[in-house]
Amino acid sequence: MGDTAVETTADEDRLNRAFAALSDPLRRKLVARLARGDATVNELAAPFAVTVQAVSRHLKVLEDAGLITRSRDAQRRPCHLEPTAFGPLAAWIDDYRIRTEEKYQRLDALLSHQGVAAQDTEEGIQP
């Protein structure tokens, strides 16, 4: 924190807005979903027990914070995550989390065989 002292840069403002937008758990879930690819409002709302309108409002907050953009694709306006808005660290952490999770899912598969046989198991774990 102490490398550039009292210097509220545009970057910092942006980051503050981003953090405020991410203070809501559902918005964090929407961002996590968009990290895996663009999606429309309906696609984003589908897994959640909330209305499309509610999801739209949340997306507006994310959009105002510069975290997502929406293309002007007439029929289908997919939302797109802007990873640079989070700073590189956030993107690296998320990527590392996915790699860590893949590793532990391989361990899950081994553990699911009683007695952890030192045998080659045939678990195709698709990320």
Partner: protein, 162 residues
Amino acid sequence: MTATKTSTVTAEPGLPFVDVVRTFDASAERVYRAHTDAEIFAQWIGPRKYATSIDHFDARTGGSYRFSQSDTEGNQYGFHGSFHELTSPTRMVQTFEFEGAPGHVSLDTAVLEDLPDGRCRLTVHSTFQAVEDRDAMLQAGMTDGMNEGYERLDELLAHDGA
């Protein structure tokens, strides 16, 4: 795929730490063994497309280990370190060094706690020698194409401010 469990990863800006928390549907004892038995360890530590070979794995307090992973192009990636403290089945403290970045050593403390219903929680606290080392480690995977879904993200990150 029923993802009931996920890994939590925390890395605060400006601090040389990474914290991982994960639960398993197995006892601490079995998860401990999966970390300290070379044959089991080799089966899960590396991605499927990499072959992991254990050079040596002396899993006891004061022991050391080395393993390497090779990809299909024949590139070899070596890793080694020491088992500073192994306390079955609750605590594993070890150093870790990627031989592609010699001299940059991390110290990992893994704690295992049994939970109700035969499950357990693994908590790993990694300490790096510098924030830059930590960030380099986090960044290292961004380019290896292991997550196709992230290739687009990689591209965006490559263009500053895209």
